[in-house]
């Protein structure tokens, strides 16, 4: 009954406890790194290593955020809006760049440091940290979806969505496809990957106008509809996120899955039998003969606008995102690196036997719309297209355009 007040008290207590320990000695500034709570401890180790190598100039303290990106953002933006000076380094989801930059909550990188940050990194990933010709963060880890399939049931992986759905239907009961269809960011990601593979984009190049060209949008929506209505799709599609898809695939009852690379180490330890038959391929394409273009994920390290130590924070961010620490994040935490050459590193290749495919996928990857109103746009997309089984390609192309248009004008409820 008093649940709302309980929530309030809890969050209040959390804020107090987080704010309580930010005092730092004048000699050795403490830099707080707000980042999602990485379970393997790779981030903690990176922070420790950088603090030690800083020759007593700074210590980095990890301030863990929730695992869910929406909730990370909710906690951060309120503090940023209030001008919290304890936010030194931010582990930013790639989609926040435009929003945080435009609101003046993060600092741009001066050109000399920016070129250091860009050095050797995959350009599609650098793109996620750039906004209006400036670099706002140093790319750290990245992510992209691949197609996972059972080699004992299909000989060759399907090249297109149409092929995959047909193959799955032919397999009968065990042909199940796992994808993400819940109403959340993952549904937007799915739509944008389909749309980009069909040659379209959500916004025009300026980022202020709706694009959503007729033909590619209709194609993307048709695939969504086809997938959701196919008997080969898991009946819980409308409530499935990445993790539910992984769990379902690990039971061995599914043949195809669209998911991020974390499913590989997970299957190896949870379901070795399934893992022994598990293979990977490029995300299926929409147009025959035209490779798919998937949405890039991951985190970049930005520097909070109200920090007392902007110079040190940038230096620390560069250190945290160094090749050594990217390797740590990859081998310990299974997070793909942003530096291209690391995909040839033996340790990384051992963690990601699909390293070449992943790098190739990342080279062609697309960024989600670059607009400070990205959250609004994403809500508009996921609310309009959920549940996928009710998508009507012709009608929904119009509805989608309307909804995105309203989101861009920040008008009305979505």
């Amino acid at each position: 009954m008093t649940s709302s007040s309980t929530w309030f008290i809890l969050s209040f207590a959390a804020v107090i406890s987080m704010g309580g320990c930010q005092r730092s000695s004048p000699q050795r500034p403490k830099l707080r790194w707000y980042v999602f709570d990485e379970p393997s401890g790779a981030f903690e180790r990176a922070a420790k290593r950088c603090s030690e190598s800083s020759e007593d100039r700074y210590t980095i303290e990890v301030a863990p955020l929730p695992a869910d990106a929406d909730q990370q953002r909710e906690q951060l933006v309120r503090r940023l809006a209030a001008g919290d000076s304890s936010i030194d380094i931010i582990g930013m989801d790639v989609i926040w760049t435009a929003e945080l930059a435009e609101a003046g909550w993060i600092l741009p990188w001066p050109e000399d440091l920016a070129s250091k940050a860009r050095e050797g990194r995959l350009s599609s990933i650098v793109d996620t940290a750039s906004y209006e010709d400036e670099l706002w963060a140093v790319p750290f880890t990245t992510n992209a979806q691949l197609l996972w399939y059972r080699a004992d049931r299909v000989k060759e992986p399907p090249a297109t969505w149409e092929q995959m759905i047909r193959m799955a239907e032919d397999l009968g009961d065990r042909g199940t496809i796992q994808a993400q269809g819940e109403r959340y960011e993952g549904l937007t990601v799915f739509f944008i990957s389909l749309l980009a593979s069909a040659g379209g984009s959500v916004l025009g190049p300026d980022g202020d106008t709706v694009s959503l060209d007729e033909e590619p949008t209709r194609q993307a929506l048709s695939i969504m509809q086809r997938l959701a209505k196919s008997p080969a799709t898991d009946p819980s599609l409308a409530t499935t996120r990445e993790d539910q898809a992984r769990l379902a695939f690990e039971t061995g009852e599914s043949t195809f899955m669209i998911n991020y690379t974390f499913v590989w180490p997970s299957a190896k330890s949870n379901a070795p039998e399934v893992a022994s038959h598990m293979r990977w391929a490029r995300w299926p394409s929409v147009l025959e003969g035209k490779p798919s273009r998937v949405t890039v994920g991951g985190i970049n390290l930005g520097v909070g606008a109200h920090t007392r130590h902007p110079g040190l924070a940038r230096e620390a961010a560069l250190c945290l995102a160094s090749e050594h620490n990217q390797r740590l994040a990859a081998t310990m935490g299974g997070l793909p690196p942003s530096t291209a050459t690391l995909y040839d590193d033996p340790a990384v290749r051992e963690t990601f036997p699909f390293a070449d495919l992943l790098r190739e996928t990342l080279r062609d990857a697309v960024h989600r719309p670059k607009t400070p109103l990205y959250v609004d746009v994403s809500l508009a997309i996921s609310h309009t297209l959920h549940p996928m089984r009710d998508v009507e390609p012709a009608e929904d192309t119009e509805r989608l355009r309307d909804a995105v248009q309203r989101a861009l004008r920040s008008e009305g409820l979505l």
Binding site: V77, A81, E99, A103, P372, V375
Partner: protein, 291 residues
């Protein structure tokens, strides 16, 4: 009024003052501030573009499909859960009142769900109904994904609410039951009224004030439902409630103007419900001696 009464009155006000001030600070101020914010076009991300727009935000909310849909959903959840809670609450209250053996055990057992945090309860039920990890489908021999369909999702949300808050209802009603004078029931019995007649003709009328207060509390609470829906569907499958709509606008989209307008509208709805109970049904919230 005598001088003495005047002095007593003044003292009463003085004694109330700290509590009244605290209430003004923590409830009146945020409410007024929200009403003020709701008159602006104001995005937390772009504070410089803040602009007075009058009632535009209200027009925008009240003309949107999302708001009316959410209002319908909220009303549905409120009516569904509160009515079942009332009936089950009575059963609980009677059991707690009459239990002969292990009175303490019975009372404690019935109150357990109320002691569980709503988020935890909502998650437990979500997992229970999950087709992969849950036991419900296995138990019933079904295969559907409950939370993937609108009406079954409503069913789960409402039954979670019922499971969680019926004990509260039971507790309030139990308090009412203990107020029914035993003499009256005995007299009715002597007059030849059977158990059913005694319940409907004696117990129920005497409990009316307590019952209405319990209903008022629960309705107001149920109308503001947030956590169960947030955890179980996050408003998907068209199960958005008004609180979720407000949360999306205010917390996710950082649209302070629009979000505040939604909050103010929710507050007005709550006020209307309270007015309906107090004026329409004659609830005496101050709980003075019933006639």
């Amino acid at each position: 009024m005598s001088a003495r009464r005047m002095a007593e009155r003044r003292l009463a006000w003085l004694l109330c003052a700290p509590a009244a001030t605290a209430m003004l600070l923590v409830t009146a101020y945020p409410m007024l501030y929200a009403s003020w914010l709701s008159l602006f076009r104001y995005d937390l991300r772009f504070p410089d573009e803040r602009q007075l727009v009058g009632l535009d935000n209200y027009v925008s909310v009240l003309t949107s499909e999302a708001w009316w849909q959410a209002l319908f959903n909220t009303t549905l959840i409120t009516l569904g859960s509160v009515s079942c809670e009332l009936i089950l609450g009575f059963v609980f209250a009677l059991v707690m009142h009459r239990a002969v053996l292990g009175l303490r055990l019975v009372r404690t057992a019935l109150l357990v769900p109320y002691g569980i945090i709503t988020v935890v309860a909502a998650m437990s039920w979500r997992f229970a109904f999950d087709p992969t990890t849950g036991f419900v489908n296995a138990l019933l021999g079904l295969e559907g994904a409950w939370l993937a369909e609108r009406w079954s999702a409503f069913f789960i949300i409402i039954q979670t609410e019922i499971w969680k808050t019926t004990p509260f209802m039971g507790l309030l009603l139990l308090a009412g039951l203990t107020l029914v004078p035993v003499d009256l029931l005995r007299a009715a019995r002597v007059d030849g009224a059977n158990a059913v007649q005694r319940f409907f003709k004696v117990t129920l009328p005497l409990m009316r004030p307590v019952m209405l207060v319990a209903l008022l509390f629960r309705t107001l609470d149920a109308f503001r439902i947030f956590d169960t829906v947030f955890v179980q569907t996050r408003g998907a499958q068209s199960t958005d409630t008004v609180s979720i709509v407000g949360y999306d606008a205010l917390i996710t989209r950082l649209n302070l103007g629009l979000g505040s307008a939604v909050s103010v509208l929710i507050f007005l709805c709550v006020l209307a419900i309270a007015a309906l109970y107090v004026k329409g049904l004659g609830v005496d919230v101050a709980d003075r001696e019933a006639p």
